[in-house]
């Protein structure tokens, strides 16, 4: 069993994005129960995001140039929302659990949003239900304008059904392949006909396009609408298993422990798909803190970049530059590669992304030019360079944490603070890279950078 302070660190890394040194010092003797209460308490206090209005009231212009202008403005809004979200994830005053859970559901309900108000509304939906009822979450997503448009449900009409949403709902969002037939997809599509939205992105049932007829779905018969379909899907405990397995893989370990997942799935099902209860169960279980689950997950680009700021108590000074870094590392918020979403683990790693990750801490804290060009959006002209990335940091927590320690002890302390994975290198060799004569702050920062530049720092 790993010691208390490492358990606390593990919990806050998996349920959030890590802790800064002061927070860790404050919490390292807490019981898991106390820490979990804090995490969930903070989540409960989080507020919805401020509403964002559609550009031009959502009304399509007759003029081509104007349409282009509005589209560009909407894309800029999505960028702003992404930046705000990244900053929230890194902000110790915000609820890490809320942001992490939102990131998970955002990845699960993969959806490309190219308009600010649509992205914002969807994110608010996820925040509202993400730690609540999975049933209500799915229903809300089915009525979400961004998702409706992304999966063509606005084209799903009584006389001309479009199966895209119904299919992905089952294949990717709820029960998974192998538990429904093609006929089920067809019938479910009928049930979702007419599920549309108005110009402001508010859900609207277009009654004349809705098929009110009798449907046969998963061996049940009735005049089903979309909500009924979701209820029937969730009545199957395969759905609980599918979702639980995904949550386990993301929050605990890519290697699935079948008996544990089955136990969690049964509990999730019996609780009527209570997400909060499931997450509590996970975070309060002994097995969650088993060494085989500690430091074994390769951080996603978001967890990695946000984590740097979170742990070092820093704020990026050009947050927009961060978006290019995210793109270069393969994870752009509101823009998954396809509806199956992002992968995990080794999926994130190739020679280019690895070298960029390893050089990022140095670039940020030495405020140097990254010299990396990102591929253009296919509508754009050319590659875009990532220019300067820098941050303002408050090193006080680190200074406090290492007060009165000698060089070797400092390194030991920082290593334990920053890394989840044991050093694969003798500590002394790292020491030789940091000049002792430097003034204390610089000296500490350089040690941190050295540690964060190692592959071990990619793990959480």
């Amino acid at each position: 069993m790993i010691d208390q302070k490492m358990q606390i660190k593990h919990l806050y890394l998996r349920a959030g994005f890590g802790l800064n040194a002061r927070e860790w010092m404050q919490r390292k003797d807490w019981s898991i129960k106390k820490a979990v209460n804090e995490l969930f308490g903070q989540a409960e206090k989080s507020k919805p995001l401020a509403t964002i209005a559609p550009v031009n009231g959502g009304i399509k212009s007759e003029d081509r140039k104007e349409r282009f202008k509005f589209r560009t403005a909407e894309k800029q809004l999505v960028k702003k929302i992404s930046v705000d979200w990244l900053l929230r994830m890194a902000d110790p005053r915000e609820s890490s659990l809320m942001e992490k859970m939102s990131l998970f559901w955002h990845g699960h309900f993969a959806c490309r949003s190219r308009a600010g108000y649509l992205a914002n509304n969807q994110l608010n939906t996820i925040r509202k239900y993400g730690l609540g009822s999975f049933k209500e979450l799915v229903l809300a997503i089915a009525k979400d304008a961004a998702m409706i448009r992304y999966l063509d449900n606005h084209r799903n009409k009584k006389n001309n059904p479009n199966e895209n949403f119904a299919r992905e709902l089952m294949e990717l969002f709820t029960i998974g392949i192998g538990h429904y037939t093609e006929q089920d997809v067809k019938e479910a599509a009928r049930a979702f006909t007419g599920w549309n939205s108005d110009k402001q992105g508010v859900y609207e049932l277009k009654e004349r396009q809705h098929d009110y007829g009798r449907k046969t779905f998963m061996n049940k018969e009735g005049r089903f609408n979309g909500g009924d379909i979701i209820d029937i899907i969730l009545e199957k405990n395969e759905t609980a298993y599918f979702i639980t397995k995904k949550i386990y893989s993301y929050f605990v370990n890519e290697q699935i422990d079948e008996p544990i997942v089955k136990e969690l799935a049964d509990s999730f099902y019996r609780s009527d798909y209570d997400i909060k209860q499931l997450m509590l169960y996970i975070f309060e279980s002994d097995w969650f803190y088993d060494p085989k689950n500690i430091g074994t997950k390769i951080k996603s680009p978001t967890e990695f970049t946000v984590g740097i700021f979170r742990q070092l108590n820093g704020v990026p000074t050009q947050p927009r530059a961060l978006l290019r870094v995210q793109k270069a590392l393969g994870q752009t918020l509101f823009n998954p590669p396809n509806v199956a979403g992002w992968g995990a683990g080794k999926y994130w790693i190739d020679n280019s992304t690895l070298m960029l990750r390893l050089s990022l801490p140095t670039s940020i804290f030495n405020s140097s030019n990254l010299a990396f060009s990102v591929k253009p959006e296919l509508e754009d002209m050319g590659k875009k360079r990532i220019r300067k990335l820098s941050a303002t940091i408050d090193l006080d927590p680190i200074i406090e944490m290492t007060e009165g320690l000698n060089t070797e002890e400092i390194l030991e302390t920082l290593q334990i603070f920053l890394l989840q994975s044991p050093l694969a290198i003798p500590q002394k060799r790292i020491q030789s890279f940091v000049l002792e004569k430097e003034e204390r702050e610089k000296f500490l920062l350089n040690f941190c950078i050295r540690l964060m530049s190692l592959p071990e720092y990619q793990m959480c």
């Binding site: 270069a328 199956a340 790693i349 690895l354 591929k375 754009d380 990619q458 793990m459």
Partner: protein, 395 residues
Amino acid sequence: MKRRNFLKSSVVASSTMMMPAFLKSGFGQTKLTSRSGKILVVVQLSGGNDGLNTVVPYENDIYYKNRPTLAIPKKEVLKLDDGLGLHPSLGALRDLYNNGELSVINSVGYPNPNRSHFRSMDIWQTGSASDEFLSTGWLGRYLDSECETCPVYQAIEVDDGLSLAMKGAQRNAFAMSNVNKIRKAADNKYLKKMSQLAAPEEHNVAYLYKTLADTQQSTDYLYEKTKAYRSKITYPKSAIGKDFKQIAELITTDSPTQIYYVSLGGFDTHSGQKKKQHNLLKEYSQAIEAFTKDLKSNDLFEDVVIMTFSEFGRRVNQNASGGTDHGTANNVFLMGGKLKRAGFYNEAPDLTNLASQDLDYDIDFREIYATVLDKCLNANSNAILNGNFKGLNVL
């Protein structure tokens, strides 16, 4: 005149000294495979290049009627054959055509075409059907199935990052925009030292250290290979010019790399197409001109096949902004010193009977992939493309 020697099997020699201890015990030994077949260079024109103004049907009234101000005037077209010619910027391709070194495949596409950049580019890069969503690239799958012990630079993308086309389930290509740049990034004393000393226990950390070591070794290897050699040909100063120069230098110095991937963007010409496309095609043509000249001067052009594509063509009619909108089928160019069948592979696109201003496809793009996979790369195209594509008798 330098004749290419196909390399025989040998172990990567240069940087074994720097290999971390945990890898020396045979964990990740790579072998240079002897290369048979040809080197494939894939050129991606991003944004949907307008095919009708690239390969111009200069005797077709329908073309001129639909593009009153955008059609290429007959007298400006570089005339080739059968009423088809090239955009005036494509001088280099006209020369290749006259030498029997260019094959133009018309009307390439796929059933149920998708006009979203995003989707169509994914379809082309993953080699999928229009309703499939694959998460690996066609060349990535080539690496998975044929390159278990190849060095990671078996396939190089000349860019800072990898396209989906070059990512497989188990293996990825190597991304580098130029050797000096990656060398600068890898020339990190700290990382080199740490990499040497590492003895990771956990398998994910070991994977990261292995990837780091592979990257460092590859960088050293490619740098050593090319450091003494600079091409004597003058390349255009454009980004794509520089990319091609880098490729030529790697080929000439005998890098075992079998696949290169390079892209040129900006082709999404919804407005102001005339000037934009003119400039882009000129950049492309000048880069190709220098590249082919370079290869020929070293007697290497016969060992190389260049494939150029775009994720879709554009509509027949011009729009109200002096541009064209997303379309469907497009042409593909294959160039090489030893084509089996040069010239126009098939007929010009039929501009009559157009239901919705969209060109119909004649050749499925996966037939072309099958051709290069089978003939250039000596691979099993059926397995990689998950389908039976016989290929074209062009290579």
